[in-house]
């Protein structure tokens, strides 16, 4: 366990460093800068150059990166170029939305997808083919399109749920949940398809193995065989997919947040990128990268729980 954690720590630090350096360079070399955004189209070249100097945009790239990195090492993510608001505060105010969306989407995908996959693996041909079709359709539907269809049905035609907006959990748990129903379904539908197919394949493989026949011969109930033994053995590839999906859902939030006007990190990073607010872009990239490494660790730990041999290796 200690070796696993040490390896994770070293890899994580390296990954975070590489991600932050790459993000910084890519954002800095993109045409345009914050000085131009602030000045708009009225400013003269002289005013533009003076403002660049004032904002420190003329400093060499390595100097600017080091300034930012040394701040991070002291626990300071810096401030927004425009509002002077702390980047940590800005990210903190949006983390809850993105987390609610991602965890909700993952839960929705996992529960529906695993249930569908099990049913398909245990069923005969038509159900299995139906899962394939559902998977294909689910994976093919662009989530922003699905979002608009859901809004049109459940917010406009049937005015049951809000079309846009987010309510904080602390403000009203019921309104928080209402504001998330449509975005979570929109985000999670693609995942349902993937998980259902993965579950069905893994379960079908396990159901064909000798130990299953042996258990049947011993008189164990089908329910016990499927849910206590087969599903547990099939869980490793499903966990891998869930881990990958979890990190993938973060990028999926960008479009879903746009359709439902949710104040999450996806929208924040899009806006910060277009206005060249580098401290915010850096901060969000760092947070996303951090969740990727934490998810990888969690997946490794779950492997160990599910399969003792993985723990030993």
């Amino acid at each position: 366990m200690i070796r696993l954690l040490a390896r994770w720590l070293v890899t994580s630090v390296l990954l975070l460093f590489v991600v932050s350096a790459l993000t910084f360079v890519l954002t800095a070399i993109a045409p345009g800068d914050a000085a131009r955004v602030i000045l708009g189209m009225n400013g003269t070249q002289e005013q533009y150059e003076a403002l660049r100097l004032q904002l420190g945009l003329d400093d060499p790239l390595p100097v600017r990166y080091w300034e930012w990195l040394s701040g991070v090492l002291r626990g300071d993510l810096g401030v927004s170029i425009y509002s002077q608001q702390s980047v940590a505060e800005i990210i903190g105010s949006r983390l809850g939305t993105t987390f609610s969306l991602v965890f909700g989407g993952l839960l929705f995908s996992a529960v529906i997808g695993i249930a569908l996959g099990i049913a398909s693996a245990r069923g005969r041909g038509p159900l299995s083919r139906a899962t394939d079709v559902i998977s294909l359709v689910g994976a093919s539907i662009p989530n922003f399109w699905l979002g608009f269809i859901l809004v049109s049905l459940f917010a406009v035609t049937l005015p049951w749920l809000p079309a846009t907006g987010y309510v904080d959990l602390a403000t009203s748990p019921a309104e928080w949940a209402r504001s998330l129903v449509l975005p979570v379904v929109t985000l999670g539908v693609g995942g349902v398809a993937i998980i259902a197919k993965q579950t069905r394949d893994a379960m079908s493989k396990q159901l064909g193995l000798d130990y299953v026949n042996a258990m049947r011969a011993q008189g164990l109930s089908e329910r016990s065989i499927v849910f206590r033994h087969v599903l547990k053995n099939a869980a490793i590839p499903i966990t891998t997919v869930l881990g990958l999906m979890f990190t993938g859902l973060f990028s999926g939030t960008v479009l879903v947040e746009n359709v439902f006007a949710l104040p999450g990190l996806g929208g924040l990073v899009v806006q910060a990128t277009t206005t060249h607010d580098i401290p915010i872009v850096q901060g969000v990239a760092l947070v996303f990268a951090f969740f990727v490494v934490v998810t990888n660790l969690a997946v490794d730990l779950i492997y160990g729980l599910l399969n003792p041999r993985a723990r030993i290796s």
Binding site: D33, L39, G43, K232, L262, L306
Partner: protein, 518 residues
């Protein structure tokens, strides 16, 4: 060991999700629960302000400031001016260089400070040094509080119509910041320090998601506070805005011609006015990158080759007016719109005369923003008919597009430019120092006419403006195609008067004047 996946757990989780969804839907079955309260106003805008500091806020996002900062002069929806924090204003002497404002007595800022002439001078000084969009309008100016209630602004060069700078149009200049705010500029980005009808409720606001304003108990014009609460929601997606209006979550939004028919069909009120000219900016007027564009006849040929009526109708339907001009303000002339009536044969003749009988090729920097790409593609199709090949380079990020357009990298660019009085338009559009004049082109006659305009007596402004606009059209530095619309959507909860009062010269409804219906 207990399995993580017992059927009971799966079923329980699935059932919990289903029940929770049903309860949520059930508890919200009343449409009223998704609608805004009767005396609360919710506005949707597609972009949020990067900063709430009046000196740094983009002029296009003035609504975020209009609620909390009272301008020196209030510009009504129909463009008429009335006293705000200034009770009187006007030029001192002749020459349009000195402008005097009489400051209202007894005004208290929402954060407790008092409005004084010296405070206004300090505010102007702060804006001038901020580097923000409106700071350029005060370039080289000096300010003086000549007594407790009087401020005199002395411009470095003559500025006719300076009162416009002190209205909502001049966001940073007009929206006077309190002494406390000026003492702590870092706080201006996320809080408001004005003397307007509302105060930003910071606790209820989430930056770039929604901004909540509540009435300012010390507002100097308390009778004209019309709402108990105003919320501005940032909704980037236009379809999402329309859905929010249909479901009753939003009361006011900007007009968008792509969704206008859908909005009208849903019973939402719409009003638009033609205000932004969309077309080509033929930047390389000396022929540095593309020699053909250095010839006035070639630029005129481009103008003749465009069937404006067809292009405008194809893209904007009924919501745009074809034009060859750059302003709808003083200087606009109906007959000038016929200067380049569609005539592809004339275009071919001019090209041949200039030595390009087989046409030529040039690249246009375009952007999807404000439908620039669609317009550029439509123009490309028209120019191809006379042998000119227009290669469009689409730049997705509008900031990148503007930076590269202004850098001299491209011989031409798509342009969308809102109608302004020519004295304001010049420094931004066609003078050698203008942002949209990437090659610093200069025409002696044009510059001379602009010089006459800025010192012109009021009775001479129209004549000089018309000569100036005629010269711009004659030079064919631009190939405007159509006036494209600005305007609003609003629901029946809101009174229509202010929206319907807007015109092509005054396209923005005065937010503080908008009242509940009935």
């Amino acid at each position: 060991m207990t399995s993580l996946f017992t059927p009971r757990r799966l079923l329980a989780t699935g059932a919990a999700l289903a029940v929770a969804s049903a309860m949520l839907v059930g508890c919200s079955a009343s449409p009223a629960s998704t609608e805004t309260d009767s005396n609360e106003l919710t506005i949707a805008l597609q972009a949020g302000p990067a900063s709430l500091d009046p000196a740094l806020t983009n002029q296009a996002l003035e609504y975020y400031l209009d609620l909390a900062y009272s301008p020196l002069i209030i510009r009504g929806s129909d463009g008429t001016l009335r006293p705000g924090l200034a009770t009187e204003w006007g030029y001192v002497g002749e020459g349009n260089t000195q402008f005097q404002l009489t400051i209202r007595e007894g005004v208290e800022f929402a954060d407790g400070g008092e409005l004084t002439a010296q405070g206004v001078v300090d505010h102007f000084t702060y804006v001038q040094g901020s580097g923000g969009q409106t700071s350029a309008l005060l370039g080289g100016a000096t300010f003086e509080a000549t007594d407790a209630q009087t401020v005199v602004v002395t411009f470095a060069t003559p500025v006719p119509g300076a009162e416009l700078f002190f209205t909502q149009f001049g966001t940073g200049i007009a929206d006077v910041i309190s002494p406390d705010g000026l003492a702590d500029p870092a706080s201006l980005g996320t809080s408001t320090h004005g003397a307007g009808p509302y105060i930003l409720d910071e606790a209820a606001t989430v930056t770039n998601d929604h901004y909540v304003y509540t009435p300012n108990p010390t507002y100097w014009d308390a009778e004209n506070v019309h709402w108990d609460k105003v919320t501005i929601k940032v909704i980037a997606n236009q379809s999402s805005i329309l859905n929010s209006m249909k479901s009753g979550q939003v009361d006011i939004a900007s007009f968008d011609y792509t969704t206008a028919a859908d909005a009208e069909a849903a019973g939402i009120n719409t009003h638009s006015v033609p205000n932004v000219f969309s077309g080509l900016n033929l930047l390389d007027r000396a022929g540095t990158l593309v020699p053909a564009l250095g010839d006035e006849r070639v630029r005129q040929a481009i103008n003749y080759a465009i069937d404006r009526e067809t292009v405008a109708t194809a893209i904007y339907g009924e919501y745009a007016d074809p034009t060859t001009q750059t302003t709808r303000d003083t200087g606009f002339q109906e007959q000038l719109d016929e200067r380049y009536a569609y005539d592809p044969d004339k275009a071919r003749d001019l090209l041949a005369e200039a030595g390009y009988p087989d046409g030529f090729e040039f690249t246009v920097a375009s952007t999807p923003f404000f439908n620039g790409d669609t317009m550029t593609q439509a123009i490309a199709g028209q120019l191809a008919e006379v042998g000119i090949t227009l290669n469009m380079e689409s730049i997705a990020d509008a900031n990148e597009w503007s930076t590269r357009m202004a850098s001299g990298e491209f011989p031409a660019a798509w342009i969308g430019f809102g109608s302004l009085p020519l004295f304001v338009e010049g420094p931004g559009l066609f003078l050698p120092s203008a942002f949209f004049n990437a090659f610093k082109s200069e025409d002696a006659e044009l510059t001379a006419l602009f010089g006459q305009l800025v010192v012109a007596a009021p009775e001479d402004v129209e004549e000089v403006s018309e000569q100036l606009e005629a010269r711009i059209v004659e030079l064919a530095w631009f190939a405007p195609v159509a006036w494209t619309p600005l305007g609003n959507y609003w629901t029946d909860k809101v009174d229509s008067t202010e929206f319907e009062a807007t015109t092509g010269l005054s396209p923005i409804a005065s937010l503080i004047d908008i009242k509940p219906a009935g």
